[in-house]
Amino acid sequence: MLDNWLPFLIYAIFALIIPASMMWFSFVFATRAHKRTRWRELPFESGVSTGPPRVQRFTVSFYLTAMLFIVFDIEIVFLYPLAVILHQLAWFGFLEFLFFIAILVVAYVYVWRKGALDWQ
């Protein structure tokens, strides 16, 4: 079974070499500037130099989305193995499946009613 991963490993090395070499080319073949001043390298937007961000705080919506993602993505990871053998588990498996979804729907409805799914 582990042998099946050897071709993937070989392919993954290729998949790493290509972007790495492209990155390397971008240094080797780059045109050199005649004159380099510090101002050229400052981040800017529409002519206003803003510099690096000082306080790194974000809208709470981003955190909320991340939490929702973790909850629902883990749910799906749990469903995958069940889905593979559901035809063997038959009705017992299906009832468990429904039970799992039902608990999730409660959480989903709660999140919806709380307004967490609306972007603010």
Binding site: Y11, I18, E45, T50, F58
Partner: protein
């Protein structure tokens, strides 16, 4: 079926370069089709029909001045595009493109790696790909890059949920996470897009959002905002992000073809890879067509669509499929 390691090596080298070529000509196809749909010619200067345009672009990008924002965190700033593109390329490894061939007395598999958790592997690599955007935005140390990367991240993770849930119906029917098994099952029974039409639609929308293509191209939104997480990138380093996006498009199109349209199956079996290529080509063209026709969504519309429409539809689809699978078996 085992194959000797050197066949895997040759095949990996050939496939990876074919994907790069496919990427190059996807950009050409996109510009040409968009041009035609907008009543202009598109690229037509470099070579016949502008066919050398991708190579001209490559040379231009590589020749651009190597350029860093002063505050950038250098190792991460450089690593981010590589992560993005590595995950995009690596995901293709498990997609079957042919039935496998007997060449002389060696067996050549129709896929690079036949692993039992192929589907989970693809989604896992997709999740790691999000790090490319986050790290790139953060390491640039610019306010706009950082905000852009948060925006991208929120969009990608929101739609990843629907993307993963929409294929649950296919897993239920294919009874495997192995893409080779799923394709063979479709060849033996029915192409899954017929019973899984709802799943296909959800997958399709989630896929547009995952590859941040219009109308879900909020990570870039080039006509409204600064480019987003790759604002501070230029030259080939920006090119790597762009390449990753197009390769993601190709890989996810190939995944959709594999899951819903029976991969390499077609009317005449020996032409397997050709059917596969044709289906992927049609998928990619549809994406370009959508880009030309539909205006961009607003961010709150994007989030509402993902969480309030796609997710419930995908769940209901999974439940109904589970019921039918148990009923029939």
């Amino acid at each position: 079926m085992r194959e000797p390691w050197w066949i895997s090596l040759i095949k990996a080298g050939v496939i990876v370069n074919l994907i790069m070529l496919a990427f190059a000509y996807t950009t050409w196809l996109e510009r040409k089709l968009l041009g035609r749909m907008q009543n202009r010619f598109g690229p037509n200067r470099a070579g016949p029909y502008g066919l050398l345009q991708p190579f001209a672009d490559l040379i231009k990008l590589v020749r651009k001045e190597s350029f860093f924002p002063v505050a950038a965190r250098h190792p991460l700033y450089i690593a981010a595009p590589i992560i993005s593109m590595f995950t995009a390329l690596a995901a293709f490894a498990v997609i079957p493109f042919g039935a496998g061939w007997q060449i002389w007395h060696y067996h050549v598999n129709g896929e690079i790696a036949n692993v039992s958790i192929a589907l989970i592997l693809i989604f896992a690599l997709g999740s790691i790909g999000v790090y490319g955007a986050i790290i790139g935005g953060w390491a640039s140390q610019s306010k706009f890059s950082l905000l852009g990367s948060m925006r991208t991240c929120a969009q990608l993770v929101s739609y990843e949920v629907s993307l993963a849930l929409s294929v649950l119906g296919v897993v239920l029917m294919g009874q495997s996470l192995n893409l080779v098994d799923i394709v063979n099952k479709q060849g033996a029974t029915i192409w899954f897009f017929i019973p899984q039409l709802a799943g296909l639609l959800v997958f399709f929308f989630a896929m547009i959002a995952e590859t941040s293509r219009p109308p879900f191209d909020l990570p870039e939104a080039d006509t409204e905002l600064v480019a987003g997480y790759h604002t501070e990138y230029g030259g080939m380093r920006w090119g790597l992000f762009q390449t990753a996006e197009y390769i993601n498009l190709i890989t996810l199109s190939a995944l959709a073809v594999t899951l819903f349209f029976a991969g390499w199956h077609g009317p005449y079996a020996p032409l397997g890879p050709l059917w596969f290529l044709l289906k992927v080509f049609i998928f990619v063209s549809v994406f370009i067509w959508i880009r030309a026709s539909v205006p961009r969504l607003r961010y709150d519309q994007l989030m509402r669509f993902g969480w309030k429409i796609l997710l419930p539809v995908a769940t209901i689809n999974a439940v109904v499929t589970a019921l039918l699978v148990v009923w029939i078996s």
